[in-house]
Symmetry: C2
Subunit: 195 residues, 2 copies
């Protein structure tokens, strides 16, 4: 696969620890459409790997089954483009194991960049992150974290290296699906700027 | 609702006429997640209405049922943000009836802007469309058309006023879901440009 980022960018979709509507820590269910949509956006924007993080072994097994339909089953011949996208997916139990795998693969300790709908102190702008991804400062690896349900747990946000600025439209409403948010963020970071 | 575009922007998701993998004209099924994700993005980026276009009466009835759960059923109290987004949706049978409704609502004949993954001759750039939406040239209304399945039928593309440039990443692969494409396009047209 062509390397599109000079620095490597990985994406993780976190199913635990995330919060529910009341701010309680939960484990959300993996949904088929999150696998497809974010893999397709990831492939379009040149990410190096898409981690689906869930501690539940039945959810891991279900995810592997869904993916294998498209990567080695009937779907692989029916739709080769989809195969190419879903091949990016890596199922793992914890955020730590994803970070370990990236460290092993790249020889670099990856920086964690969290996303969320609310602004945090000292947030990283899209322009600054885009420059960081151009690799001007030498080899680097970043893991961009997305939360399911009502978003990433505070503990994940607190231990990250950077918090990316929230995506905003012209008004105050910004209740995007995680699929939309991931797609928009990847476009802002790696989209073609030619008209 | 605050008017976020000086010119009015409407979105339509077309289920007929669209093409299948073999380029044949089909009618696709309405999917729940297309309603939610594109409504949420539409609300975030200030669109004036989101038309779900299908000639099938059972699909129209199903769509209305799904929407009413969130706009007047249990979902409306459970998640008021979702209600606000799904209130944008208008079900109709044909593209023509959507255009008629916009004409009646705005007093302006709307221009049709088609989207698609393949470049067409004389495509409209994102920058040019963003300027048009600023309303510099006076009152205007635009209907941005998205195709389900393998995309809009050629007849729809041929009769449109403009074809928007395709969304691209750094490489050639651009097989985004219609949900991702709609979200990215709205962000390119109306996203906050502050860092």
């Amino acid at each position: 696969m062509k390397e599109s980022f000079k620095a490597r960018l990985y994406v993780a979709l976190i199913h635990h620890p995330v919060v529910n509507k009341n701010g309680e820590i939960i484990t959300s269910a993996v949904t088929n459409i999150d696998l497809h949509d974010i893999a397709r956006a990831g492939r379009t924007y040149g990410v190096s790997g898409y981690y689906v993080v869930t501690p539940l072994s039945d959810q891991q097994a279900l995810s592997r089954k869904l993916i294998s339909h498209w990567t080695s089953g009937y779907g692989a011949t029916y739709n080769a483009d989809r195969k190419e996208a879903l091949s990016l997916i890596r199922i793992c139990s914890t955020l730590e194991s994803a970070l370990d795998e990236i460290r092993e693969e790249t020889g670099i300790s990856p920086k964690q960049v969290v996303t969320g709908a609310k602004a945090r102190e000292k947030s990283l702008s899209f322009e600054a992150f885009r420059r960081m991804l151009s690799g001007e400062d030498g080899p680097a690896a970043y893991l961009l974290l997305f939360g399911t349900a009502w978003g990433l747990a505070e503990s994940v946000k607190d231990s990250a290296d950077f918090a990316l600025a929230p995506v905003k439209g012209p008004g105050e409403y910004n209740h995007l699906s995680v699929r939309s948010a991931a797609s928009i963020i990847l476009d802002r970071l790696a989209g073609d700027r030619q008209p």
